[in-house]
Point group: none
DNA sequence: GTGGTCTAGACCACA
DNA sequence: GTGGTCTAGACCACG
């Protein structure tokens, strides 16, 4: 489970970190039930501030993917299916402008879905 | 071609504006060759800062969707197919974390693609 | 009398434990005069720290619901009516911000009291 | 609209601040549509840190009571009725242990509801 | 000037 | 030792 942060990216560090952990989960490198390093430990490992890690953990907790246990660290949890509609909505609002642009560029539905499929599979691929 | 901006959204106004114009193009409400209002004009119409409109126009120009005419407004252009791979890459980096989260949440490829299809079709739908 | 602790909750374990014992009393599963296990015993049973159990017992003693017997465990006591105003005050300070939020959300007094009634009855219900 | 913070309280400052704003809304001293002072301004006024105010604002945003507008300050919003069930659940979990304790103390349903009513009315009272 | 992000360092409650 | 809270000060994106 390697995490590399891009300081030059316009994506906040905490978001990059959050996404990296989600990716680890998706690939099976991390599993629900696993303990994540403590906030301070991971911050030290990554060379970033405690609060930045904490914010990433808070996001994951909000998304129902992580449980923060006071005095005992953080543990990955099995995502609650109740969070699915929320996720679907989030995906929708993110995807909408891209779908529109695809149509501007005369991209057909098949080509658009090809790209989507590709991304879905690439999670476990590269 | 109505544009409504959500000031409470965490999406920057200039991006919302840019997306709205792209949406207009996708739906056929706007067409390549059409003139867009001048920066000052549109800013006044929407009640926002000139700088914000300018930034949206710059993005569209960067994406090859708009030509800026000195002092005479802006004209929508037919998107250059050469921009397609750039767009595909952008879609990929945006979609990747969402695809990962979908897998975390035990969403199958079919369900994921359903959501994508839905968004693609909704561009011309509602 | 089963006690289940939620390690992921933001409510401290000692408080959960304290609340669980109070709930047992309210339901009649525990009665004044009953002996509670010793601190060590209960800690071992629940798989938690002795200190945590001790703190829960101290709270109950403070509330006048428990008498600590040196070395011989603890015994539930009939609550002193003198503790009622203290409890009423505690309920008030806890409820005040929620009542305020209820009004913000345009909830009427009847609806608010419905929720309160529901909670009161649910103690003996589920 | 006066806000007094209790540094000795075990309730976090940001929560006290959040509750104070909710109370202001409930009493009608603040109304949806009103602008709140900027994060920095309010922090300076109260003599606390910017981040503490920010956290209170974030909570209110999460609860659908406040909109944070980048570069333009914060504005109170009309609460979304969709947030009501969430609130009801929150009220329930908070009230449950208190209802249990009330029964321990041999308090009847009528007396319990009296206290609840009192709190609800006191919002607009004192 | 506003909120958003990041860093740094401190103290406390919890287990 | 852990997470939770608070402070302080900095830089950036946005409008």
């Amino acid at each position: 489970m390697f995490i590399t942060l891009d300081y030059a990216s316009d994506i906040p560090l905490y978001q990059q970190l959050r996404d990296a952990i989600v990716l680890g989960l998706a690939r099976g490198e991390l599993k629900p039930g696993d303990d994540l390093p403590s906030v301070r430990q991971l911050a030290a490992d990554l060379g970033i501030n405690m609060h930045t890690v904490n914010r990433a953990y808070e996001m994951l907790k909000q998304d129902g993917l992580l449980a923060l246990l006071r005095g005992r660290g953080a543990r990955l949890t099995t995502p609650d299916p109740a969070g699915l509609p929320v996720f679907a909505r989030r995906l929708g609002t993110t995807l909408a402008p891209l779908a529109a642009e695809a149509r501007c560029r005369a991209m057909g539905e098949a080509d658009f879905l090809d790209l989507c499929t590709q991304q879905f599979r690439m999670v476990k691929g590269s």
